[in-house]
Symmetry: C2
Subunit: 346 residues, 2 copies
């Protein structure tokens, strides 16, 4: 018996998710470079590489350091890095020990990256905005950034984009088309055209892309289930909570936002989902309380003291709150995995 709340990973579901996406990406002839920000966990990285992943994607120098320490030799920091101060030396040290790619989206950043990465084998990849309008340049400006990088002595591997505007009901197909159009319009010699996200990876266009970078697919989450990317039965990671209070059709669990994370886009049904009680809704989430409402018509199937699983809305946020993942198979705890890159934000 473990004290709740904690994060549990169903190993069979995890392996099924890993197999399914590895096979689907292979069938398209694309390289799979999973985003490790989701799991932050060397044991899962190893399972991805064993299934043919060409390397990992990470978001920060700190995440790259953790996975390099764990023996991963090919890392893409898919982020418009600005390496000054201690981060400059940390990035250079990484470039000297692993095959490294980093994102760039401006000539200003080229000026900062060039002295750090010059003379190493590290490559830069130009970030293109395919419609999320976060970072990245329009596709037609990618060649200019690449040319600036080459003039500064940097190696240019190609271009990447994140079709993040595919996160919303009915948006995946349009965002995937935008991704293909943006990467297809890039005029850079370097061969890499990297895209992909969990909602769009099944639709990724192999005529426009060379690799994909989904992250969430390893675990899935309530958002993906509500988007239709997966079923609730495909959710491998859940917070395990105890019913601590109850009244009428409502029960309160001890798994709140400090375990689940607080991500809640306008289109989701609540603060998470209960895979074993699909009719229930998480109508409110505070730090240590999930308020769960069951439909009228029958007494709630949960009583005080019952233990129940909650799928977080956004699993990347939940993992980043935990020191370890409790690994279960068939109801037994079979392992514990450290979230080695938890909080590695710099």
């Amino acid at each position: 018996v473990l004290d709740t709340p904690y994060l549990a990973v169903d190993l069979d579901v995890l392996d099924r998710n890993l197999d399914r996406t590895a096979a689907a990406v292979r069938a398209k002839g694309l390289a799979l470079r999973p985003h490790a920000k989701t799991h932050k966990c060397p044991e899962i990285a190893r399972r991805q590489l064993d299934r043919g992943a060409v390397g990992l994607t990470v978001a920060t120098v700190g995440e790259a350091e953790v996975f390099a320490d764990a023996g991963v030799t090919d890392l893409f920091i898919a982020y418009p890095l600005w390496p000054v101060g201690p981060r400059a030396a940390r990035l250079r040290a990484l470039a000297e020990r692993v095959a490294l790619r980093v994102g760039v989206d401006s000539a200003d950043a080229v000026d900062v990256l060039a002295p750090v990465l010059g003379g190493t084998a590290a490559e830069v990849v130009v970030e293109v905005d395919s419609g999320q309008h976060r970072s990245g340049v329009p596709a037609e400006q990618a060649a200019a950034v690449a040319a600036a990088a080459e003039r500064a002595g940097l190696r240019v591997a190609g271009a990447f984009t994140f079709p993040g505007h595919g996160y919303g009901p009915g948006r995946a197909a349009g965002a995937t088309a935008d991704e293909a159009a943006a990467l297809g319009a890039v005029e850079i010699d370097g061969p890499v055209r990297s895209g992909g996200s969990t909602p769009t990876v099944a639709l990724a266009d192999p005529a426009a892309l060379t690799e994909v970078r989904p992250g969430v697919y390893v675990f899935n989450d309530a958002q993906q289930a509500e988007l239709g990317t997966c079923e609730l039965a495909d959710v491998a990671l859940t917070a395990v909570g105890t019913v601590v209070s109850a009244t009428g059709q409502q029960v309160v669990l001890d798994a709140g936002s400090k375990v689940l994370g607080a991500d809640q886009p306008a289109w989701v049904s609540g603060g998470g989902r209960l895979p074993d009680h699909p009719d229930a809704r998480v109508v409110a989430l505070s730090e240590h309380h999930a308020t769960v409402l069951f439909p009228d018509g029958a007494p709630p199937p949960l009583r005080r003291g019952d233990v129940v699983r909650v799928a977080p809305n956004h699993v990347c946020a939940a993992v980043n709150l935990a020191d370890e993942l409790v690994v279960v198979r068939g109801g037994d705890v079979v392992d514990r995995w450290e979230v080695a890159a938890r909080g590695a934000n710099t």
Copy 2:
């Protein structure tokens, strides 16, 4: 120079916030028992106790253990605990080393608490629902829970409520009145009537309450500023980020939801606020990106590479993501405080 993003605490603003609330609560003749879930930090607990706090409030047994280890001798776990499994022994051990109070909101929970706390000096406090409709019983049922506790051999200190429905524009006065009405209606011999939250503490009714439990007031945050509980200048904790990308009126910072937290109630202006740029809005927040929009009419005052402070919407969530707080005074780093109770959710 520190690598961004990180959390910085302005010591002068912190001390001013601590002084102000301690004085206001003292002037009302109320006891101050601050909620330490906000800061999770023994150094700040010490500053609260030095200013007259009667003890601390915490949310979990794990938080209580951290503060007991740090020398705090009077702790209230303001939560409807369900101590089974390892948590039962942990709670009993706490009851034997500090003055301990714990929440209870049902006769079922009395049955679980009684064998754990029986024979110790620990007290239970009945949770009353004053309008948030999360945990707690209606005020008129509090006496029955108290009677059940006494029959089971537990000591009953009184009643508590959390007027969490005061979190919203224009709602603080109504929630404070509800708090006073609920606690005033409780018929329990035990003298404690504990309420309070940061938005309501200034209005707390000393005729109905004996103590208040605000938490956020130590740091304040973007939510409190937008509620009008404080000014942006009163925000003591900010995430420090770097501008990594820019286009038009938009800049992107490396301080995203993995540093700020993702709390975003419908009534806030965005994903946080920039205290040094009050006209800017955080229009989108992803894990490692804050997308900040400046109003039309003038070029944005920030360029790539600039370092800027962001007030999180909900500071409790931000602190729980960090291993340490960087303490600054007049622009200099003067200390680093461990977030000792980070992740202490069980």
